[in-house]
């Protein structure tokens, strides 16, 4: 089994992938990249008695696209590791190795599972908890709050403030000015899971907007959710190419377009306003047939122009 730990600042994940992947992919620099793609893309976890590779899905990918990889050597794992590995912080790396990352805080080293073969626990995935649908079992309302609050804290850091202490200080300063305007920051309370419906499908889903930092990842997550045809391992090779292409939903090449209803109740095309502005005004999403979207503002419009669309 391969344990892949990704670390990206405060984010890390682990994915446990059965030997089948190794056999299908060539041991080259590309395959670990594909495994990383696998982890970054929403895929579905299914408990199965088969020991084939299962693919993991979440409602939204929880991690930013960029990921650094930190690798520990085999000695960091007390249990059996099939191939010891040299630490290598760059992106090109051998495919079949146990890599691990520690994100700093106190954390027991997750050891590679002993039961590789016949034991009943083989084939069970060890996943980062927040990548599995509905796990950890926290009420959606609480999860939204949590994510919003964490995002606010991260946003402070991302403003280039640097050290945590400094950002906390700044946050405190901002707070301690008794600044009532601080309350408007709580439009973030509006974020979280928004409903997504697709024309022709009876079932709506929900997507966590907080888990995305840009339109691309959101569109890709939605494509995975609604438009995926197959999630078998064979498509992973295909995904590698898909990643470099812009999302079909956004560039107009699909038969569907992604639209959203804003605070005023108008339906707009997704992608025309800056991401942050989008987040504050989106109420829900709809994947609409391109033919029906004719009334909406054309994609390549000047951003300064106020875009008003016809009601759906």
């Amino acid at each position: 089994m391969i344990n892949v730990f990704l670390s990206s600042g405060s984010v890390h994940a682990q994915a446990c992938i059965s030997p089948e992947i190794r056999r299908i992919r060539q041991p080259d620099t590309g395959s670990l990249y594909n495994i990383l793609r696998l982890v970054h893309h929403p895929v579905t976890l299914r408990q199965s008695t088969l020991s084939k590779v299962e693919v993991v899905e979440t409602e939204a990918s929880s991690y930013p696209v960029e990921a650094e990889l930190e690798i520990l050597t085999a000695k960091d794992f007390p249990s059996v590791v099939s191939q010891p590995h040299r630490p290598n912080n760059n992106n090109s790396m051998p495919s079949t190795c146990a890599v691990g990352a520690v994100s700093g805080t106190k954390r027991a080293a997750d050891s590679v599972s002993h039961d590789q073969g016949g034991s009943p626990t083989a084939g069970r995935w060890r996943l980062h908890s927040f990548q599995v649908v509905g796990w950890p079992p926290i009420r959606a309302y609480r999860m939204n709050s949590l994510v919003n609050q964490a995002k606010a804290a991260r946003a402070e850091e991302d403003k280039g403030i640097g050290e945590k202490d400094k950002s906390k200080e700044n946050l405190k300063k901002k707070i301690c000015n008794g600044n009532k305007n601080n309350a408007t920051g709580n439009e973030k309370g509006h974020l979280g899971f928004v409903k997504v419906n697709m024309d022709g499908l009876p079932i709506g889903r929900k997507v966590d907007l907080n888990a995305h930092a840009c339109y691309e990842t959101l569109a890709q997550a939605l494509e995975e959710m609604f438009l995926r045809s197959t999630t078998t391992i064979n498509s992973i090779g295909g995904e590698k190419q898909q990643v470099s292409k812009p999302s079909k939903l956004l560039d107009g090449s699909s038969e569907f377009v992604l639209t959203y209803e804003d605070k005023e109740g108008d339906w707009m095309l997704v992608g025309d306003v800056p991401w942050g502005m989008f987040l504050t005004s989106v109420k829900r999403l709809r994947i609409m047939k391109t033919s029906e979207a004719n009334g909406l503002a054309p994609r390549l419009q000047d951003r300064n122009e106020k875009q008003r669309s016809m009601p759906k």
Partner: protein
């Protein structure tokens, strides 16, 4: 007793308040059934689809208070598609048409529309209490209707609902004549509220004992409110950020000094920890503290706060309290009965507490009987110690963030640890487990957990035997929910009669097939066996061998429900 006139019996039955006891009373004989049914005022319906509103009305014509629960528990975790059901409107409609004197309505995981809220506000002249927990489908317009029309409203309690906020002035809709409020909780509302109206409302509500504010209520308003409501027993602080040197803060301290009755504190949705000392005055009286939405409070400030809370019975906290913080809790809160430790950082996915905190709590708090604990890791040794220290657990829910993680020290499954818990805690009624678990743990549960009523299982077990042990052993089982476990038809069909003794069974991402579900449905006509079909891959004529992604079955007297959406099939 048969020679007593009905009125006497009725009077005696008035002293029997618990629903279970009243159910027992009604089964003694026909006259008792009649009297009990006609005099029952409070009804609890654990599954809104188990019975029709008409039947409830027919049996309990004197009904004044009803509690309804809708969606399956796993809907809380986004496992149930959006439009699955749980609509309350048919109930409201039936009550209204039959002129029921409804006074109290409590809903959990249901869908309630603004129209329903409006209908409630217009149909029931004595309507007093609305409690909505984890509900959706309504907006602040519906709340405005309730505020406007329910002249005797005592309680409006919104807990963790998804409310569409139209930023209207629903608070201003309480007429000046409304002075009856006892409890108001709008902490979950996302939008602004009319602060002046809020202060006026508090000022004219002399009976107000419970008030929970949302984030949009700043500190200076809080201070004004506290000045006007010094008798509050339960306070939910909204936004708690201010400069500790300011006059507003000083006024707050003065106001807090007058609030000698506050026993329950929550909120701090945004908090500047340096302002917390104002609350140290209140802490010694607190029996309930909920800081689970306050990530801003941690570290030394948090521990200082806790050290003042010697009388605490209930604590909801984030895991940033850490094991050290839990040790402070264990040393300080000797009366602690219930604790919930929630994860605080979703992006990292690390919990800051481990088995150390859990053991500390069990050693330090002899009255602890209810726990929900999200943690990084667990060991069998710790669980065995906890079992020894705390044989009194009635609710034990442990969630290791990595769902299949073994014992952190020995790498063994956690079967022995949970086995010790169920063996020692003879009164255990609710259990959730996580971590690496084999069939063995289910053997233990089946053997020892005699009082167990509800159990949640995820990523556990090896074969059908696991589920079979459970179904065979736990005689009092009412709710069983399973996800991502290798249990299949053999387990499902082993004892089909069992499901009529239970409220419901949820199985998702397991190995049960369409054929198995069909077979179960055929044998048990009193069950609704619902399949949730989210992908288009399956249709009703599909291969019976195909695995069912999500199945929810429940006993019912109402037959298949009429409001099931397209993707839900009742077999």
């Amino acid at each position: 007793m048969n020679y007593f006139p009905d009125e006497v019996l009725e009077h005696i039955f008035d002293f029997v308040t618990s629903q279970r006891d009243r159910n027992s009373v009604s089964q003694v004989c026909k006259p008792w059934y009649k009297i009990e049914s006609s005099s029952r005022q409070k009804v609890f319906v654990g599954n809104c689809y188990a019975i029709s509103p008409e039947r409830v009305i027919e049996r309990f014509p004197g009904l004044k208070s009803i509690t309804l629960k809708g969606k399956p528990h796993f809907a809380d975790f986004n496992l149930v598609p959006h439009d699955w059901g749980g609509f309350v409107h048919p109930w409201i409609d039936a009550f209204a048409r039959n002129n029921m004197g409804l006074e109290e309505l409590k809903l959990k995981r249901m869908v309630i529309s603004d129209d329903s809220l409006e209908l409630i506000s217009r149909s029931f002249a004595n309507f007093k209490s609305l409690v909505l927990v984890s509900c959706e489908g309504f907006s602040t317009d519906g709340l405005a209707a309730i505020a406007s029309n329910c002249s005797f409203l005592r309680e409006l309690d919104l807990q963790e609902n998804d409310v569409e906020d139209h930023r209207g002035h629903w608070l201003s809709c309480f007429p000046d004549t409304c002075t009856s409020l006892v409890s108001l909780n709008f902490a979950c509302l996302k939008g602004d509220v009319n602060l002046a109206a809020l202060v006026r409302l508090v000022a004219r509500s002399p009976n107000l004992r419970s008030l929970r504010l949302n984030h949009a209520v700043p500190l200076d308003i809080l201070q004004k409110i506290l000045m006007r409501a010094p008798h509050l027993v339960d306070l939910g602080v909204g936004s708690y950020v201010h400069d500790p040197d300011s006059e507003t803060y000083n006024k707050l301290v003065t106001a807090l000094r007058k609030c000698k009755s506050v026993k329950s504190l929550s909120g701090f949705l945004e908090a500047a920890p340096q302002c917390l000392p104002a609350f140290h005055l209140i802490c010694p009286n607190l029996t309930s503290l909920n800081l689970s939405y306050a990530p801003g409070i941690h570290g030394t400030e948090l521990r200082k706060l806790i050290r003042h809370c010697r009388k605490l019975q209930r604590l909801w906290i984030l895991d940033c309290i850490g094991d050290e913080g839990l040790e402070v809790v264990a040393a300080t809160c000797k009366d602690l009965q219930e604790i919930r430790v929630f994860p605080s950082d979703p992006f990292v996915g690390n919990a800051a507490v481990t088995e150390v905190g859990l053991v500390a709590l069990s050693s330090g708090c002899p009255k602890l009987h209810s726990i929900l604990y999200f943690c990084q890791q667990m060991t069998n040794a710790a669980l065995i110690t906890v079992a020894k220290n705390s044989p009194n657990f009635t609710r034990f829910r442990l969630c290791i963030l990595d769902p299949t993680k073994p014992d952190a020290v020995t790498n063994q499954p956690l079967d022995e640890g949970f086995g010790a818990i169920v063996q020692s805690c003879k009164g255990l009624r609710r259990l959730s487990m996580s971590g690496l678990l084999t069939d063995q743990v289910f053997l233990y549960i089946g053997m020892y957990a005699e009082q167990l009523e509800m159990i949640s299982i995820a990523f556990a077990g090896d074969t059908d035997k696991g589920m079979q042990y459970l179904l065979n052993g736990c005689k009092k089982l009412r709710k069983l929910e399973i996800r991502d476990c290798p249990f299949g038809n053999a387990a499902l069909l082993m004892d089909v009669g069992k499901y009529e003794t239970m409220r419901s069974l949820w199985m998702s991402s397991c190995n049960v097939t369409l054929g198995g579900c069909k077979s179960l449905a055929k044998k048990m006509p009193m069950l609704n066996v619902e399949i949730i079909n989210e992908t288009d891959q399956m249709d009703i004529s599909a291969d019976d061998e195909q695995k069912v992604e999500k199945m929810f079955l429940y006993r019912t007297l109402a037959g298949r429900r009429k409001d099931a959406p397209e993707f839900v099939w009742t077999l």
